[in-house]
């Protein structure tokens, strides 16, 4: 079901998405599934040689989790923009807690543009990713629109 403008208000929060702790297995799967074969994320020897404590999560894995927060709330066809800053690396054992809040709502061109502020922290509340998404919603339920 597609959300419509009347169902979303400034200050609304998206349902929090909590992902499982990052394990080496998570990173091995994502290395293969994402085509990002950078050994920093799967080979502790390479990670240590590069001055890191150990392997850590791919940025795009963390962003995919924030993407799930969005698509769990709104149909993907409504998504117009999505951007993040990777503020801190996500280590083994850490869990991403993904949150979003509606911070702007503008009616224009027969639709409604919603700006969502995104935040992903670890389980202790340390900031990992910040970002925003732009979503375009119909003004009314699809069945009630006139098609223009």
């Amino acid at each position: 079901m597609i959300l419509h403008a009347g169902q979303v208000a400034l200050g609304d929060r998206l349902p929090t998405l909590v992902k499982p702790p990052i394990t080496r297995t998570t990173l091995a799967y994502f290395c293969g599934a994402s085509n990002d074969h950078n050994p920093l994320h799967v080979d502790p020897d390479v990670a240590r040689a590069a001055g890191m404590e150990d392997v850590f999560a791919h940025g795009m894995l963390n962003m995919a989790y924030l993407g799930q927060l969005l698509t769990g709330w709104v149909d993907q066809s409504c998504l117009r923009g999505f951007e993040v800053k990777f503020g801190a690396i996500v280590r083994l054992g850490e869990q991403l807690v993904c949150n979003g809040e509606v911070v702007d709502k503008q009616l224009r061109d027969g639709g409604c543009r919603i700006l969502i502020r995104l935040l992903a922290t670890n389980q202790a509340g340390e900031v990992k990713l910040t970002g925003e998404a732009v979503v375009e919603l119909p003004l009314a339920e699809p069945a009630q629109t006139t098609g223009s």
Binding site: K19, P20, T26, Y29, F30, G32, A33, S34, N35, D36, N38, P39, L40, V46, A49, A50, H58, G59, M60, L61, M63, A64, Y65, G67, Q68, L70, T71, G72, Q76, S77, L79, R80, G81, F82, E83, V84, K85, F86, I89
Partner: protein, 150 residues
Amino acid sequence: MTSKFVDTPIPALVAEVEKWQLRFFAKAVGETNPIYFDEAAARAAGHPSILAPPTYAVTLSLCEADPYARYRSLGINWCRMLHAQQGFEYFAPIHAGDRIRFESRIVDFIQRRQGRLKFLIEETEAWNQHQVLTTRFRKTIVIRDPEAEQ
């Protein structure tokens, strides 16, 4: 200091969107919505096939033998690269069975602190087999290179 690498053309890449790879991606990120891994569910939701999730275009754009070659050719040690920012604009969906052509360019390459800190910004457009722009994405990479001074 910006650089001669800006606007250096990067050869276009054409990649097929494969069902198995979308399923593998869904498994790797713990996806629970079946439109991202089950064709019947995707069709029931009005899609021609499995839907690619919002960040998938980056994965598909890395679908070549050595996606890091372009960075090495810029003298970047890939083990010093960190992804700093990523943004997408969306125009049309990507589904299994699509054939996507990626056109990338380096928008900026900035060196700071005598080259110990570098920022590389790359923009990519993903066009489908119907010549429709599906998404445009922008990747910012930071490279920390403590030895660059010497």
